[in-house]
Symmetry: none
Subunit: 403 residues, 2 copies
């Protein structure tokens, strides 16, 4: 039995409240040998107090050494093994730009490309066409119609866009039309299993309707489709944990993953911790569990902006007393993965974890919320999928296993 | 390959002796923020010396966040994954009161209840009838007979009793007769698979014979049966580890689990550490592995008696020099789970682990046997199922894997 199944079989309900505060890309690295990480350098009096009172640890996002994208990393935090429950590329792309993918929909990622007069691909990424040039093309493609289904499109970035086809009975087991090399014509959409034949045929009809619209465009006169995928049918928080769960996140990608696991998505007006806090407040009464997502830690990390990431952490720390005033029973503070400013990218390093649950936490020797204290913390080094069982246990929402 | 299978494939024999000393419910919590746990508060000069010389760590009983019963928690200590090898409720109840369950037997847990003149259940627990009132009823039920099988009964507590039916060819895949609600008649015992039909029929015959005996009893005029289960056929220590293993435990439940994994159960005269030590002495010559079980740490924890739990630990510490005089090659001191006096219940918190094996242990920086030192100990945080491979390795009883 998986940990998820075990947790589900033991989940009970009560009146406790759990907050999972995720600073995206929280884990970091010192800029110089012997230096401090972004989190260690930050002035965080409240997080340090919670670290002294509670228990620290560090989580491994997916597997040791594996650098995760934000989608898999968040699934793991929600207790779902991202290796067992992969979300298709098309669905991730669609959620990333706020396009919902329902139970009977099929999403795909589109790449603009160029083809010669014989239809052979000359550049699979259309010279990495700029966002400014690509956006109008996506808008024009919206005119392509297929009877019986609805097709929704949204631009992502540069040569990439997302497409979702909606209609009854669509299944997504369809091979990419991208042939992965130049000098050949794009493949037709081809069903890999009989159940997906209808969707493949409709996608081919849509490609045939869309192609003429681009024909005269010099920058990108064709496109390919990849990562056909449907609703991953993830376990929902209400069933798995018997939790009424809400999401306070501003970015579509995180709102998307949260809604895939059944969270109520709250309105968040901007990227500031204050806006996240306001969303938490409005969700408080009607929910048992609130996932709060803070994006700029990751963005500054990706930009190599150590000070910006440090400052974001300090802003979150300053917001915490107001969050604590709501009196959560269990507060977990962590990240989905590390994004060290020094590396300017996601990384595989374990992520600091703070557990504060005054009724049941076991204090360790930690006095600061930072990588070095977390490494020696009382929770040890855990897989990220252990975060939810831990939250449930401290919320007293798990029955005893066996006699 | 599971850890158990790998360990089995590498197990060898020699003359070393292993002692696994389990203080039930050992892990604790401070009563006040910043305070000490029961184990940390205890004056334990010998355990502290062993901690300084040896290596500490902490074990996760079943999975992170999961609070185990004593049965599953002990299975894990014995190297058997309790999620993969669940022991049925009836068997646990039977072992708990010292009723053996053999390979062809089917055990069940009985609950006294009350029924009205139409046979409809009016109280599923017979008003939680007292032990004093229930014991004579169990004795009277002993008169019910079924040709071809033997039925043995024993009272457990209040409205609960255990029943074991012994005879050839009995299988336990039988649904509960307890309908889980008042206002209906108890179900008949119903086989869920063909192989269990004979046992279900015999149980129904026994119920029919037993029912009239209770008919005139005002306190409890009927009973239901739950958790039909047979011998879980657990891997035996002699096969898995090539160890001659003995159990020094006073309580039936622990003696039962130990005998299910093939340990020789020793006579233990009372609950004191001294009585356990006497049992260890008498088992010493003929065994390679001795499991010593100390119950009062858990009982005091359940009672919320911090000082009582602390004192029990001190008594165990005082007994250790005599145990060490026997010259074990490997001594492991741990608990099956945590029972913080503050929570008055089992909990999911990791459990302190001390490994002392002078020929091979790797000293860490620990100087005290307590939660905080264990959290930072050299063994890290381990699943409880790693305790036996660790014991076997330090006893030099595991061959090298691969060339």
């Amino acid at each position: 039995m998986s940990t998820l199944e075990l947790t589900r079989s033991l989940a009970t309900t009560n009146n406790t409240k759990i907050v999972l505060l995720v600073m995206d890309g929280l884990g970091g690295l010192p800029l110089q040998p012997g230096g401090l990480t972004e989190l260690e350098a930050a002035h965080t009096p409240t997080l340090d107090r919670l670290a002294s009172e509670g228990t620290l640890g560090q989580i491994v996002p997916v597997r040791t050494g594996i650098t995760p994208g934000s989608g898999p990393a968040h699934l793991a935090l929600f207790g779902i093994d991202p290796i067992e429950h992969a979300i298709g590329r098309g669905v991730i792309e669609a959620f990333g730009v706020g396009l919902p993918v329902g139970e009977h929909d099929v999403a795909a990622r589109g790449n603009f490309c160029t083809v010669d007069s014989a239809g052979l691909i000359t550049d699979r990424r259309a010279g990495r066409i700029s966002t400014a040039a690509a956006e109008p093309l996506v808008a024009q493609l919206g005119a392509a119609r297929v009877p019986g289904v609805e097709v929704e499109l949204r631009h992502v970035k540069e040569y990439r866009f997302a497409v979702v086809m909606r209609g009854a009975d669509l299944a997504a087991d369809i091979a990419d039309t991208d042939p992965q090399i130049n000098g050949v014509v794009p493949h037709a959409a081809r069903a890999r299993t009989p159940g997906s034949e209808r969707a493949a045929r409709l996608y081919n009809q849509w490609i045939a309707a869309a192609q003429p619209i681009l024909r005269a465009q010099p920058a990108a006169n064709m496109f390919t489709l990849r990562g056909f995928s449907g609703d991953p049918r993830l376990p929902k928080f209400s069933e798995t944990y018997k939790l009424r769960a809400a999401c306070a996140a501003m970015y579509p990608m995180y709102r998307g993953v949260a809604s895939l696991v059944g969270m109520q998505v709250q309105k968040v007006t901007d990227a500031s911790p204050a806006a996240a806090l306001a969303a938490v407040r409005s969700a408080w009464a009607a929910n048992d569990f609130i996932f709060v997502h803070i994006k700029p830690t990751d963005s500054y990390g990706e930009d190599g902006d150590f000070a910006g990431k440090q400052k974001t952490i300090e802003t979150v720390d300053a917001m915490l007393p107001d969050l604590l005033d709501l009196k959560p029973d269990v507060l977990l503070v962590t990240g989905d993965h590390s994004t060290p400013a020094r590396m300017q990218s996601h990384s595989w390093h374990p992520v600091p974890l703070l557990l504060w649950a005054p009724a049941t936490h076991r204090p360790d020797r930690s006095t600061r919320f930072g990588e070095r204290d977390c490494e020696g913390g009382g929770l040890g080094t855990l897989p990220a999928t252990d975060v939810m069982p831990l939250a449930m246990a401290h919320a007293r929402r798990l029955a005893k296993y066996g006699a």
